[in-house]
């Protein structure tokens, strides 16, 4: 059974002070996780007073289903469901590339904040998975906030973009302000295995969620697209349910034309508002068949809401409500 190889990224007192330095070390010293029979945890911890400004390149490792790279934030370093400059964040300018570029096959990215400040006219991307046409993959992207804050006339500016025929699950992410697409898969082949669950995609000038069409298996459940140029363009989807669109493009007709009430969308806080009637308790229960049971904040899902947030009423002052934040430990056993 694979054992843990752990490195920490912290603003002080950890092994490394940037995520890419930790990966540089892995690639140099522990590149073949399979032969070493280890899975590599990169734990991001601590209170951050400034952004990590170095582009992250995940390339040069040997991984498999049980010997994978697992990048996650602890509760201390993690956002609380809206952009937090005191939590870990990757903020830098990249054109025709991602702030995070991943060419590896078995990678998990949990709980990061990613902002590409580069020009939207020049292909700025947030998380860019380019494993090639390879079904022997297991990419998991969850609990992240991804935005593109650059300017310019949009051209290939996609917040989360991934390549054809990949086996990928994307859940509980908040994605906003992409120049073109929020979450994008171009044309895909016969072996793609794509699952999108409970993502909130807002304010993307092009298309919120875009699938170009093809074979393979594509599942869409509980996604919330509002305020995008077009909320969905999704071809050849195999299974879908309870995906909200503000326009008439949701693949689920009963969930078209629904404007969700957010906590404070003007301030980019896309938690569900207490008065919402579109997403609250309206989702499909457990769409991932046990893949996850919480939301972007770590709150346990009960009657499933649509989107990344599960609404939890404010507790009266003085009462204690524990928050479950260790999804990264939970996910390891999936």
């Amino acid at each position: 059974m694979a054992t843990e190889l752990k490195h920490t990224v912290k603003p002080s007192g950890g092994d490394f002070t940037s995520l890419d330095a930790a990966i540089d070390h892995l690639v140099s010293s522990h590149a073949d996780l399979v032969s070493a029979d280890v899975y590599a945890d990169i734990e991001i911890d601590g209170t951050w007073s400034s952004a990590d400004t170095t582009k992250v390149t995940i390339d040069g490792l040997t991984t498999d289903a049980t010997r994978y790279l697992n990048i996650y934030t602890t509760a201390t370093a993690r956002h609380s469901g809206s952009w937090d400059t005191g939590a870990y964040n990757l903020s830098l300018s990249q054109t025709y590339d991602g702030v995070i570029t991943c060419t590896e096959d078995y990678v998990r990215i949990f709980g990061l904040q990613v902002d590409n400040t580069g020009s939207k006219a020049s292909g700025s991307r947030g998380i860019y998975v380019t494993t090639g046409d390879n079904t022997n993959t297991d990419i998991r992207i969850a609990y992240n906030i991804v935005k593109l804050s650059g300017t310019g006339t949009p051209n290939n500016s996609n917040a989360v973009q991934f390549s054809a025929d990949v086996n990928i699950a994307i859940w509980n992410n908040i994605v906003y302000d992409a120049g073109n697409n929020g979450i994008r898969l171009g044309y895909y082949g016969n072996s793609a295995n794509v699952s999108l669950y409970n993502n909130t995609v807002y304010g993307c000038a092009g298309i919120g969620i875009y699938f170009g069409g093809g074979g393979g298996t594509v599942r869409l459940y509980n996604n919330l697209c509002n305020g995008n140029g077009t909320d969905y363009t999704v071809k050849d989807v195999d299974a879908s349910g309870t995906n909200i669109s503000e326009d008439d493009t949701s693949p689920d007709a009963a969930f078209q034309g629904l404007a969700v009430t957010f906590s404070n969308e003007g301030a980019d806080d896309f938690h569900l508002g207490a008065t919402d009637t579109a997403a609250l308790n309206a989702g499909t229960s457990d769409p991932g068949s046990g893949l996850f049971s919480d939301d972007i904040d770590g709150d346990t899902r009960s009657a499933w809401d649509i989107g990344a947030d599960e609404y939890v009423a404010e507790e009266p002052a003085g009462e204690y409500r524990p928050i479950y934040h260790n999804h990264y430990q939970q996910m390891r056993t999936v």
Partner: protein
């Protein structure tokens, strides 16, 4: 005002960064991590050199390998880093045995920046 994290130790993995590669660039006063030191890395402090001037040294070496269906360029990573300090310079620093090197003389700072090698595909 800038500081560099530079690879000091060679790796056998061809995908890894090479000795002299500039891995991270940060403004002056950055607090580095416990593993960001010899034998694997050197911290080189270059006071008065503008961070904005040298942050490009973090770039990877990429090559355009095609275009997508919309005509946009597709780039492939060829090397983790595009810029490196000459090997002889790094070896001299390593010989000193200190994980942190401060380039205090103005002329030396200028010479270091000018000596940085830009790799090509």
């Amino acid at each position: 005002m800038a500081e560099f994290l530079i690879r000091a130790q060679a790796a056998s993995n061809p995908a890894a960064s090479g000795v002299g590669d500039i891995i991270i660039v940060r403004p002056d006063g950055h607090v580095w991590g416990n593993a960001e030191c010899l034998p694997e890395y050197l911290v080189v402090k270059v006071p008065t050199v503008s961070y904005k001037q040298v942050v490009k040294f973090e770039q990877s070496l990429q090559e355009q390998t095609g275009t997508d269906s919309e005509g946009n360029p597709i780039y492939t990573i060829r090397k983790r880093r595009k810029y490196r300090v000459p090997l002889a310079t790094v070896q001299a620093w390593v010989t000193l045995g200190n994980s942190v090197v401060t380039i205090s003389k103005v002329n030396n700072r200028k010479a270091l920046i000018e000596s940085v090698v830009e790799k090509t595909v």
